[in-house]
Subunit: 285 residues, 2 copies
């Protein structure tokens, strides 16, 4: 019993109600059991130690870029990516039930969230911005403290979990703010459970590779895909620290990793790259 219960946990970084939880619900349904972790590294460790059966991690954001730290963990821990999803980052203003908008004097949230709602604060100069360590944590705090003049900015899921009432929806300055999340599973979980694959799914494969930075090196590496008509959906270079002329590349292409074209492309890329690691193959989100 205990073992089964533990195996169902999905680890994520942050407090309950974080955007990673919204991604986990989108990927696995609202009925999942969650394991909130303080750091990304703790998320990966919980998978390794068997405390969780899966994990949901952010990998890139349309405003803030790729989360290199999670690419590093993906390479080190080698848990396969089995699904992806995109979540729009919607900032909602909430308060304890019974506190009307006109009573708000302070609004708590993570400074990144506060800075993404500057138009709202410009329109309401009487409301003070107060920083808090976490968006969802700020929702939890205003409810626990029962503050009569304070609100929080957090996700709709956080409002639901902590019982806060949403006073203003979607107060962010820029609505084109999306985060892409990966679902990771332990190889044991994948072996024991046949994941449900949507019929007619289009597949994506994610990999990293490194090359010496000689002119044309990347061009030759990309020929492995171009010559086989494999379509790229992401390419990003990252300088390798301590190796001034070497680069790591993140690459996603459309296709199953076990298709003949992909196998040939990976064989070809393997001849050209110093390091090549497939991070996962999953239905396109």
């Amino acid at each position: 019993m205990t073992r089964t219960a533990r195996k169902a946990l999905i680890a994520f970084q942050g407090e309950r109600g974080a955007f990673s939880e919204e991604a986990a619900r989108k990927l696995l349904g609202a009925g999942i059991d969650l394991l909130p972790c303080p750091r990304f590294e703790d998320v990966f460790r919980s998978l390794q130690e068997g405390a969780a059966a899966g994990a949901v991690i952010p990998i890139e954001n349309t405003l803030a870029g790729s989360v290199h730290e999670n690419y590093d963990h993906l390479q080190r821990y080698e848990f396969p990516i089995v699904a992806e999803t995109n979540v729009r980052i919607v900032h909602n203003l909430m308060a304890p039930p019974g506190v009307p908008f006109s009573h708000l004097r302070r609004v708590y949230s993570h400074p990144v969230a506060l800075n993404q709602c500057l138009d709202f604060f410009a329109r309401h100069p009487a409301i003070e911005r107060v920083t808090y360590y976490d968006t969802a944590g700020s929702a939890k705090m205003i409810m626990e403290e029962g503050l009569g003049d304070a609100g929080a900015i957090a996700s709709a899921v956080a409002a639901e979990i902590y019982g806060a009432r949403i006073l203003r929806r979607s107060i962010e300055d820029d609505r084109r703010n999306f985060t892409r999340f990966f679902l990771l599973r332990t190889p044991e979980y994948t072996r024991r459970n046949n994941p449900r694959i949507p019929p007619n799914a289009q597949w994506k494969t994610s990999l990293v590779f490194s090359t010496r930075n000689i002119p044309g090196a990347l061009f030759r590496c990309l020929s492995a895909f171009a010559l086989r008509d494999l379509n790229l959906t992401k390419i990003e270079s990252r300088p390798l620290r301590g190796k001034p002329w070497e680069y790591l590349f993140y690459l996603d292409f459309l296709g199953r990793v076990d298709s003949p074209a992909a196998q040939n492309a990976l064989g070809h890329l393997g001849e050209l790259a110093d390091v090549l690691k497939v991070l996962g193959c999953y239905p396109r989100g």
Copy 2:
């Protein structure tokens, strides 16, 4: 007089003592006059309105990725990049002079900085982490309030500006945390002032281009550089919002934009890309 004084200002996002100020000093010397701005967009506006003669912006970080927002502003405002530098993000614990380490009960900083010093807080569980809207702002606050049991985590420049005393240097968990910054100038400033170019400088050119995502499209675009032995130092794709199958690419290559090889490569790339915009050509940092 006023005009000259205003023209010398360098705009940056954040409070005095932010890491952008450290980058500005590295690029232009410690004697510069600064214009702190609340948002990145305000930095660009201050250049456009003539309130500043230059700006320093972060463009990518080794842990957190590219700052897409600033790539967007670079394309919209068209101020050329004239220099780059890399700054290591060093988090220092500081307190008002006379407050010893043993008196510290609370440490204020931006949550991202606090989360990058978790090993320090694990070793000192009696010290509470308190979030603040800004790293440099937390140094300013502990000095203004004259708190006897509180410290801040911020840059060495912030300690110097606000008169705080550094109690522990470099308490960040990961020392491989670097941010790359660009210096922007108005075209008028560049015309009137001959920028000093280091002799034997190696040059870098930054550009953005977009293609339709047909298989091999990027491969063909990169042939423009590979066929002319131009070495890339950065390539990154970014999905174009609202155009599901189109991508924007950020690309840096080594070379002067006005060299024959670069001119030919840009001509070739122009045949293949839908949009092509050179963001600047500058000595390698």
